[in-house]
Amino acid sequence: MAADDLLVPVDDSVTLRKTVAYVAERAADADGRPTLHFVYPVSERVDTGDEGSEAASAADLLERVEVWVEEDLGDDDSVAVETAVVGQTEYLFNPGDYADVLVEYARRNGVETVVVDPEYNPLGMAPLLPPLERELESAGLTVELAPVERPTRRGPLTRTAGVGQFVVLFCSTYAFYLLVSGTLSPFDLATGAVTATVVSAILWRIATRGEVELGKLGGRLARFALYVPYLLWEIVKANIDIARVVLHPDLPIDPQLVEFDAAVWSELPATTLANSITLTPGTLTVDVTQRHFTVHSLTPGAREDLLAGGLERAVRFVFYGRRAMRLATPAERGARTDDADAADEAGENE
């Protein structure tokens, strides 16, 4: 029963145990006698006679996996287990290489379904999974993520920061303190200085990112001052729009998710853009990874506005100056909504 066979790429990830448990349970529930293939793609080339350290640890790991499966299955012997180390004859550098060796193995053994551990990432760099999934799917395999709970993932909290960051944080904290206290009495000046010092000493490597260049900062603030009225106007328009839709007796909404890659390149511009999108016509940022925005939109009109890229251009103007305004809009860069797809399909059918 090749249809129930599962191919599981294995690596020493934190959720490997849970993934193994999941596939074991799934295979035990399946009809027939499915085979579980646990495969370890080795990234370095292993020459004959020279058992490299990676190949050795791969063999260890696969043995462990076999023991786990036996534990999970108990006396149930309707499941066969095979393990293999693949990719010894070449170096694996990118997701495509991994996909190639996995596809080759799957073809040889007639496996159609691949179950991937969500933490599977042998390259050790972000992100392997999405391209790997895509490659595997384009080779005609079914790819599933094992539904295991992932432990909390944390990036490094602190990062390198210079005196500039400290000074900026100190000044803004001090200013906020004095503003709220409302006086410039010696007592407030002293307590404010102490508080601002403590806060900046603790947080200066967390709260800010990137070099602070005062010249650039000034230009940005000035352009931001121009951006605010534009944004306010957009917000007012957005709200009248929403009010009309929400109070309309028929509730004329047509919500949809739109995904596009924004042409902004660092954290603060991306945050500004995401928040601006949320505040303006019928659009709501759901997820941002790097530059990839997932936006929920309430009406078709809102989607068009979003992809026409007015906001994006404005944000680029704030952070990169006037020259950056002339880049192509998301629509021109090939971002699409389902509306457009549906319209295309309708056109093809006619």
């Binding site: 957005a238 709200n239 929403i242 929400v246 919500p255 928040n275 505040l279 709501l284 759901v286 309430l298």
Partner: protein, 105 residues
């Protein structure tokens, strides 16, 4: 009525109207994503207008600065909170409601 009272009346009325839109949106719209639209946008503008009324009432004063600070803070945090909530929803696999599903419900 003085001009200031008129301005305050207009701002409070506008604020209450958009808060009303937010409340109606929260009750009427079909799923968490669309409800967040109503709450994040209308409520933010409603609060902004009402706080502007507060600032106008206090006149040129430190309190007005505080009210402005509050508005600024809300304009930054409300969309961020909305984003965090919908991202959590998307992460839990809650599917967005679309017009196609109307028949099934």
């Amino acid at each position: 009525m003085t001009p200031r009272e008129l301005a305050v009346l207009a701002l409070v009325a506008g604020g209450a109207f958009f808060a009303f839109v937010a409340a109606v949106g929260l009750l009427r719209l079909p799923d968490v994503y669309t409800r967040t639209h109503g709450a994040s946008k209308s409520d933010t503008l409603g609060a902004g207008l009402a706080l502007a009324a507060v600032a106008v009432t206090f006149g040129f004063d430190l309190s007005s600065v505080k009210a402005a600070l509050l508005v600024l803070f809300m304009f930054i945090t409300n969309p961020t909170a909305a984003h965090a909530i919908t991202r959590a929803a998307a992460d839990q696999g809650i599917e967005p409601w679309t017009t196609d599903e109307e028949g099934e419900e």
